[in-house]
């Protein structure tokens, strides 16, 4: 996959077009504009409370912005129900793990296949025949995700009993099982040790390269962000203050001032 080297830029896959979101006086997002291009890894960074999660919630239909449009593959998805947006090929993970706690890893991943399966309540209850064939076909897809994420040994474990790092991985797996064209990840490495972070970064790159999924990634770890992303958007107090390649963003005085600078300052204080 060739990235950001072409003459004419490709058509954006996701357009955030003047999005504003209010919570009764609190302005979580104001007039945010940026584009995400097919096959790229787009990072969103910014201090706590900057509106990063709110933006993902707007994209997946959980929040409805008061102004602006969000276009996915040319189609405005503002106002669509979350399950409808999922069917368009957008998957996500959550900042605070939102797995189906009482179900096994396999069932969680099979739920990722929900939109690709057809059998209804009658064929499910009868099972033999149609529903069983469908279960087997989709189980094969799920097994590929399991292999990719190296979670073979916990297939049949109930998710709620797994350690935090593995739960994060399973949540990524559930999103991957949806075979999404656009994958939104909200701090997939938060709270992980450096080894787990490395694994997670490797999985994200694998998914991006081998499966061709576009990735929007919220992450606080600057090292990881600068390493793996093609473009970085920076939010502060709901405003987009920069959007460009990692190098451009790193040297942007506004970013240094608002975010990186502060972090450097904090680091120097210690």
């Amino acid at each position: 996959m060739t990235k950001s080297n072409g003459a004419s830029p490709p058509r954006p896959q996701l357009e955030i077009d003047g999005v504003s979101l209010d919570f009764g006086g609190v302005r979580a997002l104001s007039n945010v504009h940026f584009n995400v291009y097919p096959g790229t890894i787009q990072a969103i960074i910014g201090p706590n409370g900057a509106g990063k999660t709110s933006l993902l919630n707007c994209i997946s239909g959980l929040y409805r912005p008061q102004h602006g449009a969000i276009r996915f593959e040319g189609r405005n998805i503002v106002g669509m129900a979350p399950h409808h947006i999922a069917r368009l090929g957008i998957a996500r993970s959550f900042q605070n793990i939102e797995l189906f706690r009482h179900m096994t890893v396999l069932d969680n991943l099979m739920l990722g296949r929900h939109i690709h399966m057809r059998s209804g309540i009658l064929s499910g209850g009868i099972y033999w025949g149609r529903a069983q064939r469908e279960e087997i076909a989709h189980r094969e897809v799920v097994e590929r995700v399991i292999d990719l994420l190296e979670i073979q040994s916990i297939r049949k474990k109930v998710v709620g009993a797994l350690p935090y790092g593995l739960q994060k991985r399973v949540e990524l797996g559930r999103a991957l099982a949806m075979s999404p064209r656009l994958l939104l990840l909200d701090e997939p490495m938060a709270g992980m040790n450096s080894e787990e972070k490395e694994d997670m970064a490797r999985f994200i790159l694998d998914v991006n390269e081998e499966w061709g999924a576009t990735i929007v990634l919220i992450e606080h770890d600057m090292g990881v962000v600068m390493d793996i992303s093609d473009r970085v958007a920076v939010l502060e107090f709901g405003q987009l203050i920069a959007d460009g390649t990692p190098d451009e963003v790193r040297s942007d005085p506004k970013v240094i001032d608002a975010y990186l600078g502060r972090e450097h300052a904090i680091r120097q204080e210690r």
Partner: protein, 352 residues
């Protein structure tokens, strides 16, 4: 837990009962069910039929409450819809049971889906109150039955109890013949619901229970699936109600009040939320407990002459006590106790 069993294909890996010992247990249970009616007297057949019908209703309620996480205290009302639909079809239209029972079940599913509409907006306690409204509306309609033209109770014609033109009375006594029907329906219900929860729709129900926001984001249409859960749950309530109507031959609204709704909730809590076998254990427990108490009362009535006057209070007290004890000591219900016993023996003699 089990080791030494390896699955060679996804189909066998996904089987409902993958281990031979589980299959053996099912065969034993089925044989016992086949033999039982030939030895049981009418008293025990009646108990078995009562349990089987209650188990169908309890499995239905468990679909909604235990698996989908939607609270309902309107189940008694849905049982009534099933019973009265079947009853009215038999009385007014001279329809036989093999038509009335399926139609009544489907009609109850529709009514359930209708009263499930508030679940789209309401959760928890608020939804419970909305389903209570469903319960009260249904009972109000039945007690102000001029609308439907029914009195205090409804008697079904014996002729309605025939299968494809063959009168049931020709096949044996009512309890014996209905044993095959109720247990047959229970077995079909168990198979259907077990399958449901290892395939797409059932998984979506459980996803809604565990994390409804994540369920939406992976593409589950909450509106559709909540109504579907209400419909499926009410279908089995309708089936249980219709079976009751034809088995008892007489129905009255008093059997379907909020007490009944609570009784069914108690069954699935005591048996095990989100478990098909738990629903059956709970139904058996709640049916056998009062029967056991009245037998005990009869046994001691020689020494305690007034006991029969107190029996209803003792039975109610025992219900309450059982519920409290389960909530304190085994909130996961009888299935969990049974699983502990099995685990104990699986590791035996190394059971530490």
């Amino acid at each position: 837990m089990q080791s030494g069993t390896f699955h060679t294909s996804y189909a066998s890996d996904m089987a409902l009962r993958p281990y031979w010992i589980q299959r053996l247990r099912i065969v034993i249970v089925l044989i016992a069910l086949l033999i039982f009616p030939w030895f049981a007297d009418r008293y025990w057949l009646n108990l078995a039929n009562t349990i089987a019908i209650a188990a169908i209703g309890a499995i239905g309620l468990n679909i909604l409450v235990g698996y989908t996480g939607q609270i309902s205290i309107g189940h008694g009302g849905f049982l009534a819809v099933g019973a009265y639909t079947a009853g009215l079809m038999a009385v007014r239209l001279d329809m036989p049971m093999w038509i009335t029972i399926p139609v009544a079940s489907c009609f109850t599913a529709l009514v359930g889906a209708f009263f499930g509409l508030p679940s789209v907006r309401l959760k928890g306690l608020y939804l419970a109150i909305a389903t209570l409204a469903a319960q009260e509306i249904i009972i109000w309609l039945l007690t102000h039955g001029k609308l439907l033209g029914i009195g205090e109770s409804l008697s079904l014609p014996r002729a309605a109890n025939n299968l494809f033109g063959m009168p049931l009375a020709d096949l044996g006594n009512n309890d014996f013949v209905f044993y095959w029907i109720t247990v047959g329906c229970l077995i079909l219900t168990v198979i259907f619901v077990s399958n449901l929860f290892r395939s797409r729709t059932g998984r979506a129900f459980v996803a809604i229970r565990d994390q409804d926001i994540a369920a939406q984001v992976i593409g589950v249409d909450l509106f559709r699936y909540k109504l579907l859960a209400f419909a499926a749950s009410s279908f089995f309530a309708g089936l249980a109600g219709a079976l009751t109507a034809h088995y008892r031959g007489i129905i009255s609204w008093e059997r379907f009040t909020i007490d009944t709704s609570i009784l069914y909730l108690a069954m699935i809590i005591i048996g095990g939320l989100g478990s098909v076998s738990g629903s059956i254990y709970g139904a058996a427990f709640m049916t056998l407990l009062p029967a056991l108490l009245s037998n005990l009362a009869r046994a001691v009535s020689g020494f305690v002459p007034d006991i029969n006057a107190y029996l209803p209070y003792i039975q109610q007290g025992a219900f309450g006590l059982a519920i409290i004890l389960f909530l304190i000591f085994e909130p996961e219900g009888i299935v969990k106790m049974w699983r502990n016993v099995k685990d104990y023996f699986r590791l035996w003699p190394f059971s530490y």
